[in-house]
Each structure stands twice: as structure tokens, then as C-alpha cells.
Amino acid sequence: MTEDVQRSYALLGLDPGAAPDEIKKAYFRLVRVHPPEKEPEEFQEIRRAYEMLKDGPPVVEEERFSAPEDPNVLCLLEQARRRSERKEYRAAADCVADALTFAPDHPFLLLLLARLQIRAGNPRKAANTAKKLQKCAPDFSEAYALAANGYYASGWYKKAFPEYKKAYELGYRDFDFLTDYADAADDNGACELAAMLRRELLKNTKWDQSNIDSALYLYRSEAEHCKDESAVLAFLEEYGQFLSANRRLLRGQSVELAAPLMFFAVEKPQLLGFPSVYSKIDTLAESLERIVRDMEPDFVENVRIFMLFTSLRMDSDFSDSDWPLLAQVVLNPNEDGRMTRYGLLDTLLCLLKEREQSLAQLEAIRSQYPFFYQHIKEYCGVFYRDKAEEQFEKLKREHARLSEQYAGGQFYKRYPEEKTLPRGVLAYSDSKPFVRETKKPGRNDPCPCGSGLKFKRCCLGKGIYD
């Protein structure tokens, strides 16, 4: 049990391991004694203690090894503890490494060192340390998990896989560990195993605010394993249930929610050809919309436009390589809205350039998938409109502005003649000559500073208007 937890129990006047009910009682009793109005500082202390303990005492890992008794080691360990409290993991790891010179190959120190090295961003060193630890304690599962983590983070996927396997066999079941294991299995071609692990995780985990992101990631990965229509349908069904069961937690997510659906659109458009899948995705998109609607209206719009593009794409002469930018912006949750906008514009402009084909495809959708057409029709206006030319120019301008900031995109690559100089660049940027906004004043003109004097008697020679 860490000191923090012990202090918290003491502050609430409880014995370690008190029941949640008692913790709550103690907290409310103390709030009465130290109301936030009168003693804000004390209240904050109490509150912090309560928050630490209220969901039951933090799960304390049973320490398998005990620290060596050597006073030098203890002193170094104390330093390491202080450093890691300040999140200075590298320095903390150095302290532990020093301690190891006093007690070579001590399992307690090795374990601590490996953990710190992972945190400090030294995965290779961590893997080596964990290997040593495995020698001292061959049946200790975390030793394998740490080695696996270290190898995987250093990019040695082949080496990591057997370590993951071993740790799993020895019963290591940490949440992050299992997600990593599933990824490692994918990388090593063990797709069945990966799918099994993910399904197990998705089934057994209770979602809350802290791990809901991982859930979405897991679904996204699982989508990749759907091979045929029935698998896709089963997946979509399950995902739909997940969405409706966790809608409260999912508020605020947006791009991430659509990622599994987008995946089908980008990577496996052939699956969308099955009407059953198409309509299933359509209903899911609707429930998705309900979740994100008020948070990010732009996003839903982007998804819709994207669906439009995807459907138009099937018969057009775009090759697959033309799509990565768009796929990346819609699928990558870390990009901001402008980047997404840029990706969408880029594709839209390409499609507009080939308006004839796009229109033909659109007509085909209208006749074959009316329900889908209903959804995208408001965005199809650009293709039909009489003023398509004007619209095109407007979009092009926006695209040109954004292309200043973001790389990639197909539009300029395919139609280099469209690349004109962007507008609105600040006058003092290095690449552009200075452009005078007004006429240069003549010597006898009234001075532009508004003083009423002639220019030659006022600002001329001060260097302001030259």
C-alpha cells in the first residue's frame, strides 16, 4: 500500500481497508467539520482523500519480491521514489540501476527498473532488464509481459510475440497488456488469436470514462477481421448494441465512433455492395448521429460527404492510391477539423473535375439505393447545380488556402494547372514582394498621415511610406 493511500485513510480517521460505506460516512462527517465555505484548504485535502478511496481502496498489487535490506540500496530507492513522483522516470531508473550495483540481479530491483524504463521511454533497456528478471524468476508472468512490452515498443514485433504468449499462459491479464497482445498477434499473422483476445476483452470489460477509448480501438481492429457479408453483419449488429448501451460514455467522441464504419467504406467498398450491409451501416450511421449530433455538427456532415464520395468512387477511374489522404483524415482521430475539411475538399474537387462520371454514378445510386440517396442528396447539389462553375471556384479558393498548411492531396497532383498562387499571404512573408496597398504619394500630395501638410513637408524621408 502506498503512502498516499495510507495518508488518505488516516485523514479520514479510518483503518486501512475500511468499507466504502464507512469511507463515505467519514467523508460527509468531515465535510460538516470543515465546510468548503470556511476552510477551503482542509476541505480540498479531505476531498482528495475521499476521491482516492471512494471506489474501494486502490487495487494494490501483491509484491512478489521484497526489497533488499542494504542501507545504500534503501537510500537510492528513496531517491528513485521521489524522482518518479515528480514523473522524472529516467532519473529514477538511474537511481535503481545504481542500486543494482549493491545487490546484483536482485529481482525486486530488476522489476522496478524494468517498469521505470518502460515509463522513461527506454523500451529496449526495459526488455533486457526483464530478460534478466526472467532468469531469476522463471514463473513470474509480469517479467514476460514487460519484456514483450519492451520489444514491441522498440519495433521488434517478432521477438515480442513469444513473450506475450508466455505471459498470457502464466495468467497475466492486464487490460493494456491484452490489447497490445492482440495487436502483436495481428502483426505476426495470428489473426484468429487476435480476434479471440479482442472478443474476450470486449465481452468482459466494464466500460467507463477511462477505458472507453480502448473499446473503440478494439472495435476498429475487429472490423478488419470481417471477411464476408455475414461476418460484417454480425459485427455491425454487435457494434450497434455497444453504441446504444454506452451512449452516455460516448458523448464527445465522434471521429472515433465512425472509424469502424469508415473502415468498411475505405478498405472494403466491395462489401458495401451487399444491400443488407449497406442498409445496416445506414441505420448505424443514424444512431451515431444521435450521439454526436450536438457536439460536432461538422463531423456528421463530413461523414455524409464521405459516404457520398465512397459511393461515387466505385465506378470512377480513381485508383486506390488516390484515397489515402481522405481516408487518413476521416479515420485519424487526432487531426483537427481543418485538416478534415482539406481532405474532403481535395476529393470533392477531384470529383467535380470529372463531373460527368460522378453524375452518372449518382444517378445509379439514386435508382438502386434510394434510402442512401436520401441521406447524401443535400451534398449532391454541387454536381447538379447550374452554378457548378461558381461553386467550384469557391471551393477551390478554400482549398488553396488550406493547402498552405497541409500537405498531401490529389487535386494539385492530378491537375497541376489548377495550382495558382494562394491569396491572403501576409505582406511581410519572405517569399513575396511587398505590395503597396495605396498609391505611392507624390511630393506635393497631401500627406497620407492625415496631418494636412504636403507630403514633402511631413512624412517624406521618415521612411514610413517609401
Binding site: K24, K25, F28, R29, V31, R32, P35, P36, E37, K38, P40, F43, Q44, R47, K87, D208, Q209, R247, R248, L249, R251, G252, D294, N334, E335, D336, G337, R338, M339, L426, A427, Y428, F434, R436, E437, T438, P448, C449, G450, G463, I464, Y465, D466
Partner: protein, 567 residues
């Protein structure tokens, strides 16, 4: 010592209450009513009229009467009354001074301190303006209290022994608030609150009005939407109709001579059934679901754990509200408190606690949460516009949180700390509360220099932000008073007297001369120049030589660009 009263300054009605002689007591206005319409106007002879008279006048003179001013609180939108224009603050102040006058008369003593309630979802601008209106009316505003918290206080004082989770559902005239509270041993803990500050009874009226106008137009072809007088009368009838439909199944609206059609007066004659009204306004109730979801998720509570749903606000008298809650949460809501008076009573209880009328040892203790996410702008994703959360919303206050940040460029020597409030992940979509610079950071590779940024938010809505540079221990910070509204605009005229001003006088003069000529500079350069000049002055006033040095250099560089014609 003068009395402190509690005021529920609502969108459509205003109530006041006081705590004295050990009990909550409503304050009645000269008309003998506890409810005063929130209407302010100027009559034909140029005198101010407030309350019931102003509401009556609205039917005759809608041009010189203002209603629902609360909806504009926090904006600068001017409201025209007759020929003059007023700010929302001035009109709210008129209403509050009317309350102050009748409260003094009713209580027989001077009343100059008040606790005013606002929707929990009011942002800092709206809160600040409410305080200013109170001050204009001659009140010392002791506390701004969240309405659902007030309602819960009123409920809690009568149910001190209870141990439960209570959801307060407050659908008022103009705002919707939902708050989840935990009561335990006389302590009232707000776990989360949320809402929609543009949803209330008025929206129901408006939909009904729109329906009536549409029917009238279909029947006669005349569009009344531009006729203010007709609109005022229809609005009045629509409100009556809505209220009547809470008890009866249908309501007959008859407004004679609403306009003249072909020289003949035409009347508006419609019957609205409750079923019709409910279908019409179903969408509005659906808008309450999202805030409920958010609050439950933030509090980490499922609907099964809620013990009571308490209805507050006049609009909850509509039977469809209770039915919608039963459908959505599976809980039968209760009218445990008076829907119209409980907020004012709760404010009075808070006033009693503050003024010492209520013995703190025997009364309720309350803890509250911060309603908005607070954070700083960072460069996490390369866009330079990420909202990095330091204090999430719905955390119990007072609270102090610290986050560690690093530099994002090699050899970076200064960091701009910008403090934002809001829920968007893109910082600039949120509301900026303030900013400050950390300078003289040792030039080292990216990530090598670390900063600890601490946010400390107290019960009075004051946010203190400080940053410590770990390598040198240098510390800097600002104080943002959210109750008063963002960073104080500084008076910069004192820079001339500051130490070291001599060095920079020439530069500042040149810059100001340039700025005074609108034609001289491109807009972008102008902005940077003005900002740099202000920063330099600030640094001089604070006597911070390093900052002044840095700002001065920036300014010189900008001037060089400006003069050199952008080389």
C-alpha cells in the same frame, strides 16, 4: 444590520424570499402576489413601469416594453424601449430595484444585500452581468447561486435526515437545468450539473404561436408575423392556452379584431387540444435528454441509483414533462417542492447561512461543482490549437490541479500560457479567460524544459493560474475572477512613469504614431504591432526588465518590417 434576501430572477417571473425567525418566508409585492412578471417598460408619459403593470402594458405597447430580458443577459445586444436603447444589464437592474423597493416596504427595514440565483449553466459572462445588474440596483450581491442548487437547498432543509440521490429537473421560463445531488447526513453534495440555457417555457409558447400564425395565414392569407401588437396578443393567448392545457384537454382561443382584412376586423379563432400541443412540442422535450445523459455520465450514476426526481420551474406543470421523464428514466418524478417558489426560498436559505441567521452547525452544508471545463491551449497534435484539460467540468470545488507541460520546439525560450473555458477540443472554439508569458527559458532541445501549470478554482468562482519552470524555479501567474468576468483590462497609461521607460519611449512613440494612421499598415501587421506595444507597456508597468527587453525586441523587429516595406 440590514437584511439579506434571496432572489430568483427568472426569465418570465421573479420571486423574492427571506429567511427570518427560523423559517423561509416569501416576500409579497404591492399587488399582494409573490410572483412578479419579469417585465420592464416605459409608459406613455415616460415613466418606468415594472412587473404586473409592465406585463399588462406589453399587450398595448409592445414597442416600449421588454420581456424575457434574461435571455439576452451576457450579450451586448441593445433593447429598444420607445426611442431609447438599453442594455440587458440596465433593464435587469430596473427589475431588481423594484424588487428591492417592495422587499424593503414588506419587511419594514432596508434591504441592500442579496443572493441571486442563476441557471447552473450560465457562463461567466452571464454571471458577471447578473452581478452588475444587482449592483446597479443598489444590492451587494453576496453570492450567485445555481438555481437547481437553490431548489435542492430548499428541499434539503426540510429533509435533512434523508440519504439519497436526487435529480433536480428545472425547466423554467427560459432555461433548462439538470443537477444531480447526493444528500447524506445533512450534507448536500452536487455531483454534476448541466443543461441548456436556451430552452424553456417560452419555446413552447413560441411553437404554439407559430402554429396559430400558420393557421391564421392558411385561413385568411394574412401574415401577422410583422405586426408587433398582434404578436403580443397572440403570445399572451398562447401562454394562457399552454397553462390551461395542463389541466384541461382542450382550449379555445378567441382574439377578436386582431387585424383588419379588407376593411373588416378579422378574429383569430382556434381550438387547440392537448394532444395537438404535445405533438407540436415533442422535439423540445427531447432536447432535455442529452443534458440528462451528460450529467448522469459525469456523476458516474445510472438511472437505477436515482431515488427522486424533483421538478422545479413553472414549465414542469405540463403533464407531458413528467410523462417524458418516466419514459426516459423510468422514475416517477415528484413535486416535492413548490415549482415556482423553491428557487427563491433556496436563495433565501443561502442568504440565511451567509448572514448567520441559520446556525451552521445545524444546517445544511453544501458542496458545489464547476460547470465548465478549464484548460490551456497546447500544441499536442501539431495544430497548435488543442484544448488541454486541467480541471474537467463537474469537479467538486474548491479544487487545485496541476499538469506538467514541456516546450514544443528546439531552443524555445518563451511559452505563452492561454487559459480557456469550454467543452470543445479545439481551444479557440472555447472562451479565452486570460493569458500570460513565461520568458527567459533556457534554450534547450524540445521537451527538455518542463513547466508545471496549476489551476486553483475556489467557491467564489475565482481561478488562479500559475506556472513554475522546473529547471529554474521561476514562477508566474494570473488571477481570473470569473464572477467578475475574465482578466481585468489594464490601464496602460502609467508606463511613462515606470522605471526603464526612457529606453523604450522612442520605440513606443513610433509604434503609436504608425498605429494612429489607418492607411499606413496592412491589417495583420497592425494587430501584431498593437499587441506588442501593449505587452511592452505592461512589462514596463510591472517593472519586469526581462519581459520588457523581449517585448521591445519584438516591437523593434515589427517596426523594421513596417518601415522597410516588408522585406
Amino acid at each position: 444590520m440590514s437584511r439579506t434576501i434571496g432572489i430568483d430572477l427568472g426569465t418570465s417571473t421573479t420571486e423574492a424570499a427571506v429567511y427570518r425567525d427560523g423559517k423561509k418566508e416569501l416576500i409579497f409585492n404591492p399587488d399582494g402576489l409573490a410572483i412578479t412578471p419579469s417585465a420592464v417598460g416605459i409608459d406613455e408619459s415616460g415613466n418606468w413601469v415594472v412587473g404586473e403593470r409592465a406585463r399588462a402594458q406589453y399587450l398595448m405597447l409592445p414597442e416600449s416594453t421588454a420581456i424575457e430580458v434574461k435571455r439576452k443577459t451576457g450579450t451586448d445586444e441593445a433593447i429598444t424601449l420607445g426611442r431609447a436603447r438599453y442594455t440587458p444589464i440596465e433593464l435587469q437592474a430596473k427589475l431588481l430595484s423594484y424588487v428591492r423597493a417592495y422587499a424593503s416596504a414588506y419587511l419594514g427595514e432596508s434591504v441592500d444585500r442579496a443572493v441571486i440565483s442563476v441557471p447552473a449553466y450560465f457562463n461567466d459572462m452571464q454571471r458577471r452581468d447578473t452581478i452588475r445588474a444587482g449592483e446597479l440596483a443598489g444590492f451587494t450581491v453576496e453570492r450567485i447561486l445555481n438555481e437547481p442548487t437553490a431548489a435542492a437547498l430548499s428541499y434539503g432543509l426540510d429533509h435533512m435526515e434523508e440519504e439519497s440521490h436526487v435529480l433536480v429537473y428545472d425547466l423554467g421560463g427560459g432555461t433548462f437545468d439538470v443537477t444531480l445531488l447526493e444528500m447524506f447526513d445533512g450534507v448536500l453534495e452536487v455531483k454534476a450539473s448541466g443543461g441548456d440555457n436556451q430552452l424553456g417555457g417560452k419555446d413552447f409558447d413560441e411553437l404554439l404561436m407559430e402554429h396559430l400564425l400558420g393557421r391564421f395565414q392558411d385561413r385568411t392569407g394574412k401574415n401577422l408575423r410583422k405586426d408587433r401588437r398582434a404578436l403580443a396578443r397572440i403570445k399572451d393567448e398562447a401562454e394562457k392556452c399552454k397553462i390551461a392545457l395542463s389541466d384541461s384537454e382542450s382550449f379555445h382561443i378567441l382574439i377578436p379584431a386582431i387585424c383588419v382584412l379588407g376593411g373588416v376586423p378579422a378574429e383569430l379563432d382556434e381550438t387547440v387540444t392537448r394532444a395537438q400541443f404535445e405533438t407540436l412540442t415533442k422535439g423540445l422535450l427531447q432536447r432535455t435528454h442529452e443534458p440528462i445523459d451528460t450529467v448522469l455520465a459525469d456523476a458516474g450514476i445510472t438511472e437505477n441509483e436515482i431515488d427522486h426526481v424533483i421538478l422545479v420551474g413553472g414549465s414542469t406543470r405540463m403533464p407531458m414533462v413528467a410523462r417524458d421523464i418516466l419514459d426516459y428514466l423510468g422514475i416517477e418524478p415528484v413535486h416535492a417542492v413548490h415549482p415556482e417558489y423553491s428557487v427563491a426560498e433556496g436563495a433565501a436559505v443561502q442568504a440565511g447561512i451567509i448572514s448567520g441567521e441559520i446556525d451552521p452547525a445545524e444546517s445544511l452544508i453544501m458542496t458545489d461543482v464547476n460547470p465548465y471545463t478549464l484548460g490551456v491551449r497546447t500544441d499536442d497534435d501539431g495544430s497548435g490549437d488543442c484544448m488541454n484539460v486541467v480541471i474537467p467540468r463537474n469537479v467538486t470545488i474548491p479544487v487545485t490541479r496541476t499538469e506538467r507541460y514541456t516546450t514544443c520546439r528546439d531552443y524555445q525560450t518563451e511559452v505563452l500560457v492561454e487559459v480557456y473555458q469550454g467543452e470543445s477540443r479545439i481551444a479557440t472554439h472555447n472562451h479565452r479567460l486570460g493569458k500570460f508569458y513565461i520568458r527567459s527559458i533556457p534554450a534547450r532541445p524540445v521537451g527538455a524544459e518542463e513547466l508545471d501549470i496549476s489551476f486553483s478554482y475556489d467557491l467564489n468562482g475565482i481561478l488562479k493560474v500559475s506556472a513554475v519552470l522546473l529547471s529554474t524555479g521561476m514562477e508566474k501567474g494570473i488571477e481570473i475572477d470569473m464572477a467578475k468576468g475574465g482578466e481585468k483590462a489594464q490601464d496602460l497609461s502609467g508606463w511613462k512613469e515606470a522605471e526603464g521607460a526612457k529606453t523604450w519611449r522612442a520605440v513606443i512613440r513610433t509604434a503609436e504614431r504608425l498605429l494612429s494612421r489607418p492607411q499606413a499598415l496592412p491589417e495583420a501587421l497592425r494587430g501584431s504591432l498593437r499587441e506588442a506595444t501593449d505587452e511592452l507597456k505592461k512589462a514596463l508597468i510591472h517593472g519586469n526588465r526581462e519581459d520588457a527587453e523581449a517585448e521591445g525586441d519584438t516591437l523593434r523587429e515589427l517596426l523594421r518590417i513596417a518601415k522597410g516595406g516588408g522585406v
